[in-house]
């Protein structure tokens, strides 16, 4: 979950535009209940990941979320009681009563799992493609010290991971490695030492007397405009023109044409900003 600097339109957009676009995708996933639209969004985020040169990461997040998605479908099928179309009777489930698996519960679980997949994909895409320094810099105007603490904590995580690996290697070099507790103690003590060093650095960089930064007036780039417009369009489409789909007590799908058109429009709105490749630093 670390930021990867790449030469892509999403990376070139300012953080507020990129965040707005990611938030609009999540909003679209939550406002629609149509599985076709949500599945389209999941594919759109995969394509966006590839266009942002972080496709491998987004695909990995999809694979990691699959077991969780399956678990959601299974659990929902076992606990949901609202559906009427029974597809399997599992008999008496003890404290859970009669276990009847319904098509409605399976479909609702599947749709909810798809939403979860979209959210995870978007989260990974955002962490890989939105500069955290820029996000925190913009947040600093709201709460300087909280944002800075978050920055430093973010910086400490890989540092401490590196230290733990180093201490682990050193222990492997000992003829008699120290016990697990002793190693945990050493890692903790080392983390405290590191924190002190970083705190000293913050002091000599003037953190103790830090002042609220002034606003930076920056002209909107073509990528900023494209992602802001895309976000607005995604939000408008998903809020104003949702594709209806209800699961309980029986599955009631709205117009298929409506769902297909909406899915196509959302995909187009989300992916169009990636076609603009001018003004991207190499």
């Amino acid at each position: 979950m670390t930021y990867l600097r790449r030469s892509t339109p999403l990376h070139a957009a300012r953080s507020s535009a990129a965040i707005a676009w990611c938030a609009a995708l999540v909003l679209a996933a939550f406002t629609t209940s149509n599985p076709l639209v949500v599945a389209t969004l999941a594919i759109v985020v995969l394509i966006a990941g590839a266009a942002a040169s972080v496709g491998r990461r987004v695909t990995r997040s999809l694979l990691l979320s699959l077991p969780m998605a399956v678990a959601i479908v299974v659990i929902n099928a076992l606990v949901a009681r609202e559906g009427l179309t029974v597809v399997a009777r599992l008999g008496n489930g003890g404290p859970f009563g009669q276990l009847d698996i319904t098509a409605e519960a399976l479909a609702f679980g599947g749709e909810f799992a798809l939403v979860l997949i979209v959210v995870m994909e978007v989260a990974v895409l955002a962490s890989a493609a939105i500069d955290p320094d820029e996000v925190l810099r913009s947040m600093r105007r709201v709460s300087f010290r909280s944002a800075l603490t978050a920055t430093v904590a973010t910086r400490m995580v890989p540092l401490l991971a590196l230290d733990s690996r180093r201490i682990g290697d050193a222990q492997r070099c000992r003829p008699k490695p120290g016990g697990r507790l002793a190693i945990v103690r050493a890692v903790t003590a080392n983390a405290l030492d590191r924190s002190l060093d970083v705190a000293a650095t913050l002091e000599v960089r003037g953190y103790g007397g830090a002042q609220r930064p002034r606003r930076l007036a920056r002209a909107l780039s073509r990528h900023d405009i494209a992602f802001f417009c895309s976000a607005a369009l995604l939000a408008a489409l998903s809020l104003a023109w949702p594709a209806s789909f209800s699961y309980y007590p029986t599955i009631e799908a709205g117009s298929a044409v409506h769902a297909i058109v909406l899915a196509g429009a959302l995909a187009l709105a989300a992916l169009l900003p990636f076609t603009q490749r001018r003004g991207i630093e190499r």
Binding site: T2, Y3, R5, D131, P132, D133, R137, R140, T151, V152, T154, R155, P158, L159, L162, R166, I167, D169, A170, Q171, R172, C173, R174, P175, K176, G178, A182, I183, R185, A186, A189, N190, R194, D197, V198, A199, A200, T201, L202, E203, V204, R205, G206, Y207, G208, G209, A210, Q211, R212, P213, R214, R215, L216, A217, E281
Partner: protein, 534 residues
């Protein structure tokens, strides 16, 4: 105009038995380049802490006396206020970078001081150009090498154009090339920007030539405050371990000239005494290292070892190397050349992606940070009595390992990895002399020599050519994961610019001489006192 003025400063850390600084009075004027010299724990870092305001504001403790930094009273102004006038750079580059990208890192101190976005952007561009790191501006700080990180940290310290720059052994983790580049940069800043520099450094031979003044600290007291030549004369009589090789050479030859602060002055003194060897023609092309035949006495054999990163570069690219019992090998090369990886392969911490590693007997590896080995509450729990006695640490058996000095920690870690039966057939040490003073380095060299006499092969990766010359019987140079030279230290450490001792640079690589003692024996066999020729 003074940038630092101390009057009778005495300072004691919280819980310490005695003061770290005692009645220190000194002044540093604007534009001065001052080097702080002294053995480990002499009080150099504490003095730097006073200049940056960390002492007493960050560390606490008892502070007596008066200190003014750039006209600000230290009692009223903490490090954050002083940071507007004082830039600070510590030893460890990793803990000095707090932001995610280089641009954000350089902007950070300026934003803290409330500069506007335009001023910040301009200052960031300027400091990046001045330090030659403009190509790094958009890079993530997590991707940078040690040398690059140290430059970025220096950039952050300089971004606000401070009047005083305080540096605590900034080159200790850098290879000779990066170290020399950093020192050249400091010299330029001092000359062109007029920034006063206060630099603590153990390897004095690297920085005295640039210095206007040298202040020696001993036991928290100022022992000497003089121009470099005066300091070297004082060191010769009072603290020989602080004397540079070039100064020892000129004094040892009995040349009646001021002690030289650097190679240029030493060469001039030798020339005036008629002792500077004729400039030798450039060496004929050195043949590439030949593949040695398998030696039956070898305790380590690396056969065309590759270490290739997944979707990344090759850290080791087909290295073949063998080490025999009793050999003392030094591995040289720039940061990232592959030295540490090679040692990890030797110790079995890594598996080669191609090639073969064969070790006969036990391999002990001491990694860069000896503190990583120390996990218990008492020294006695870390190693057995015999090992502690051999390391000269039995007296400290009941102390906490983290309370030991740097040299003692190093000895303890060495005792830990080499403890047990059978004793290690191969001892590998990765950068063991970082932050060590000369006395501690000499003690370590003697200890490694003792172990090699007892039959162990020793391999040391180091950036310190002086230590390499004192310790090694064989030198290996690595670049980009390839072994590019393998021979006697006299061949390898005498002819180069960076991987050469100061004596070798003074003599221009003459006769493979590496140390002042060798040079004195070679140039003045008669023992006559030499006067400069008019």
């Amino acid at each position: 105009m003074k940038v630092l003025e101390l009057r009778g400063v005495t300072y004691t850390y919280p819980g310490a038995a005695g003061p770290a600084l005692r009645d220190v009075s000194l002044e540093i004027a604007e534009g001065e380049f001052v080097v702080l010299a002294g053995t480990s724990a002499a009080g150099k870092s504490t003095l730097l802490g006073v200049a940056s305001g960390l002492v007493p504001h960050f560390h606490g403790g008892r502070f007596d006396g008066r200190a003014e930094v750039c006209g600000m009273d230290l009692r009223q102004s903490g490090p954050a206020l002083l940071a507007a006038e004082v830039g600070t750079l510590f030893q460890d580059p990793e803990t000095q970078v707090v932001m995610g990208t280089v641009r954000a890192e350089l902007a950070f101190p300026l934003e803290n001081h409330g500069h506007g976005p335009v001023a910040v952007a301009r200052a960031v561009e300027e400091v990046a150009l001045a330090l030659g790191i403009e190509a790094l501006l958009e890079r993530s700080t997590a991707e940078l090498s040690g040398g690059e990180l140290q430059r970025v940290a220096l950039g952050a310290a300089l971004a606000g154009r401070p009047r005083l720059l305080v540096l605590d052994e900034p080159t200790s983790q850098l290879d000779p090339v990066a170290g020399d580049e950093l020192l050249a940069l400091l010299r330029r800043l001092n000359e062109e920007w007029g920034t006063a520099i206060l630099l603590a450094e153990h390897r004095l031979e690297r920085c005295l030539a640039a210095a206007d003044r040298v202040i020696a600290v001993e036991g928290g007291v100022l022992a000497c405050d003089a121009a470099p030549a005066g300091f070297l004369a004082w060191a010769r009589s009072e603290r020989p371990e602080l004397e540079t090789p070039a100064a020892a050479l000129i004094a040892g030859l009995g040349i009646a000239a001021p002690a030289p602060a650097g190679v240029k002055q030493a060469r001039a003194a030798l020339r005036s005494a008629g002792l500077l060897p004729e400039r030798e023609p450039p060496p004929v092309e050195v043949p590439p290292p030949r593949r040695r035949r398998a030696d039956p006495a070898a305790v380590l054999r690396l056969d065309r070892v590759w270490h290739e990163l997944h979707e990344g570069r090759a850290i080791l690219a087909g290295i073949s190397l063998q080490a025999c019992a009793g050999e003392r090998i030094v591995l040289l090369g720039r940061n990232g050349a592959g030295k540490s990886t090679l040692l990890r392969h030797a110790a079995g911490l890594l598996k080669p992606t191609r090639g073969r590693v064969q070790a006969v007997g036990r391999v002990a590896l001491l990694l860069q940070n000896p503190g990583d080995y120390l996990v218990h509450e008492r020294v006695a729990e870390e190693a057995g009595r015999a090992a502690l006695e051999q390391a000269g640490l039995w007296h400290a058996a009941q102390r906490h390992p983290r309370d030991l000095s740097g040299g003692e920690r190093q000895r303890l870690a060495l005792a830990i990895v080499s403890e047990g039966e059978p004793p290690p057939a191969l001892l590998c040490l990765d950068e063991p002399t970082r932050g060590m003073d000369r006395a501690a380095k000499a003690a370590l060299a003697a200890e490694l020599e003792r172990r090699s006499r007892e039959g162990a092969a020793v391999i040391v990766a180091t950036h310190d050519p002086e230590f390499a010359a004192a310790f090694a019987t064989r030198a290996v140079l690595i670049a980009d994961g390839r072994l590019i030279a393998d021979g006697a230290p006299a061949e390898l450490l005498s002819g180069g610019w960076y991987f050469a001792t100061e004596t070798a640079r003074v003599l221009g690589g003459h006769a493979g001489i590496l140390t002042a003692a060798q040079a004195i024996a070679h140039l003045r066999p008669s023992g006559a006192v030499l006067e400069p020729q008019s």
